[in-house]
Amino acid sequence: MTCGPTVFVVDDDEAFLESLLLLLRSAGYRCQGYASAAALLTDFRPAAHGCLVCDVRMPEIDGLALQLKLAGESGALPIVFLTGYDDRLTAEHALRQGAVDFLMKSCDEGDLFAAIQRALDLDAANRAKAAGPALI
């Protein structure tokens, strides 16, 4: 909590996960990577703040299911989906469920960083909102 926001990354493709973490770190983000939704859920502390960058198609618990599970938690993290499938229906579904953005894995890094920044800003705003009344 004393540390800044963390970008949590979930992707079952090892190379993609590693490369994305490297890219985010090179851009100055604090990151934490998981190879599956289950691994994230085991490790996850509700108090953590930051955002989630998540693959859609994964075995067992996929991205949309993870989104639903986390939505139940207090202080849910904003989610940016990153997928290899150009699938409009899934994208609409994810956005309706409150995703910040739905991007292709081959997207421009500027778009990715912008989406992550929006997610982090949203998280900060959410936390301020949640903390606000308590301060008053």
Partner: protein, 510 residues
């Protein structure tokens, strides 16, 4: 007959009578029976090859009428009397007659009757000569059968020289029979096969049998003008008194080959179109499969640019990441080339195919999500049980791949409503009695019996997506490879598709 030297001095008169001379002459004849008949046609004396021709002992015939040698029909028709009458009339009568042996068996004989001491309207007796011509007639008859045969027929002697050809042979090869008789049969064999042909020929002579020539090999004939044409040849050994002859029956199979070729090409086109359709159905899965490594490569590269600019990473670290970027890029390329190979046209001819290798390849393809892009199908890792040292089959590899891809995709689709833990996909290969078997089994809901029989019909499908051509084309492909594609299914237990293909290289000797 024994030759004896006459001990009497030259010029001295022989004491033997005319009758003695006649008897010794008649007895020296083997193929001819000689009869002396009285004026009524009853046998007074029978000599020569009587037993051999008629089955009667000479003594048995004595006193019998010549009609006992005639067939019952001829007897009824009065032929014996008519023949004697004709001989009396003209002095000599010759006719080809169907006669009967003592046991009733028929034979053909050239019968000559000569009237003895003829006087107006009557004869004192007759001399009858009888020669068996059954063999000659049969030979002439078989000669005309050969001549009239629809196929080209060539008879070759044990040394490989042409002894007989029919008119079809002349038509087929463009040679006249005079040009062929006496030549070695190799004159009709394409030059490239001439060298080995005498060897094949000799081995046939050692083990002659009625069989097709050159099993498993494509045979060609060579015309006089040097052009070649595909043939099918049946070989028949014929034992004669002059030794072994080989009768070859030759069929020009140009048209059949062309038809087969056309059918193969059409199937290849259909199979290709079907693979394109499959890839089309998988476009989104394919995009994912390619985007994944491309995205990773881009991430590594972009990270390296940032880190290099900021100086926050060592050269070694940067090199390591760039290598990973290149590796990921390679992964994407590999997927693209795999798909390209899959949708390529079947330029490759038939060749030896390692089924286990094909299974591994297909398992890699289908194990990844790219082949299941449609309808969010999740991939199931196949369990492989492959027999080691499986013999090769002969065929077009990409088509066999296609059959297995199709079966594996069907299996995955069949299991999509099952919980992940209950999905089981097994691919098994084994070798049994000249065939390689591959079975693809799923743990899906099974196929209803009423659907099983219609499964392989074109445009039959129980699925909402797809044309219903996959299994129909798959079966055509397998059958074109000389194999079978069968299905067994049990409701709520699963389905197994089994491909059976003949082992390659079972060609026997020519």
């Amino acid at each position: 007959m024994q030759r004896t030297t006459d001990p009497s001095p030259a010029g001295s008169r022989d004491v033997r009578t005319t009758a003695d001379l006649f008897h010794s002459l008649a007895d020296s004849l083997d193929d001819v029976a000689v009869f002396v008949l009285d004026s009524q046609g009853c046998c007074e004396c029978a000599r020569g090859g009587v037993l051999r021709l008629t089955g009667w002992q000479s003594s048995e015939l004595s006193g019998r009428h010549l009609s006992c040698l005639y067939s019952p029909e001829d007897r009824t028709a009065g032929k014996p009397a008519r023949d004697l009458h004709a001989a009396t009339e003209y002095g000599r009568h010759q006719e080809l007659r169907g006669l009967v042996r003592s046991n009733g068996a028929r034979f053909s004989a050239d019968v000559t009757i000569i009237a003895l001491q003829r006087e107006a309207g009557s004869a004192h007796g007759f001399l009858m000569l009888m020669r068996n011509v059954t063999q000659e007639r049969l030979q002439r008859m078989s000669g005309s059968i050969v001549e009239l045969a629809i196929n080209a027929m060539i008879m070759v002697d044990g040394d490989g020289r042409i002894a007989l050809v029919n008119s079809q042979t002349e038509k087929l090869f463009g040679y006249s029979r005079h040009e062929l008789i006496g030549q070695f049969i190799e004159i009709l064999v394409p030059e490239r096969a001439r060298k080995r042909h005498p060897e094949y020929r000799q081995s046939y002579v050692l083990e002659p049998a009625v069989r097709p020539m050159g099993a498993g090999r494509d045979l060609y004939g060579r015309r006089k003008d040097g052009s070649e044409f595909p043939v099918e040849i049946g070989l028949n050994p014929i034992q004669t008194e002059e030794g072994l002859f080989i009768l070859g029956s030759i069929v020009d199979i140009t048209e059949r080959k062309q038809l087969e070729q056309k059918t193969r090409e059409q199937l290849a086109q259909l199979a290709h179109a079907s693979r394109l359709t499959t890839v089309g159905e998988m476009v989104s899965g394919l995009a994912h499969e390619i985007n994944q490594p491309l995205g990773a490569a881009a991430n590594y590269a972009r990270a390296c640019v940032r880190l290099a600019k900021s100086g926050k990473a060592s050269t070694e670290e940067l090199i390591g990441w760039m290598e990973k970027a290149a590796l990921e890029n390679g992964r994407a390329c590999e997927i693209i080339s795999r798909v390209r190979a899959y949708v390529r046209k079947d330029a490759s001819p038939h060749g030896p195919v390692d089924i286990n290798q094909v299974v591994q390849y297909v398992a890699n393809l289908t194990g990844s999500s790219m082949w299941c892009g449609r309808e969010q199908l999740s991939a199931v890792e196949p369990e492989l049980d492959l027999a080691p040292e499986l013999p090769y089959v002969r065929g077009i590899r990409v088509q066999i791949e296609q059959v297995l891809v199709n079966l594996v995709r069907n299996a995955m689709e069949a299991m999509q409503d099952l919980p992940a833990a209950q999905r089981r996909l097994a691919i098994r290969s084994w070798h049994e009695s000249g065939f390689v078997h591959v079975a693809v089994s799923d743990s899906g809901p099974g196929i209803a019996p009423e659907h099983l029989t219609r499964l392989f019909r074109p445009f039959f499908s129980t699925k909402t997506a797809g044309m219903g051509l996959g299994l129909s084309i798959s079966r055509s492909i397998v059958e074109a490879h000389g194999g079978t594609l069968t299905v067994t299914s049990k409701l709520s237990a699963g389905t197994t598709f089994a491909v059976t293909l003949p082992v390659a290289g079972q060609e026997t000797a020519p």
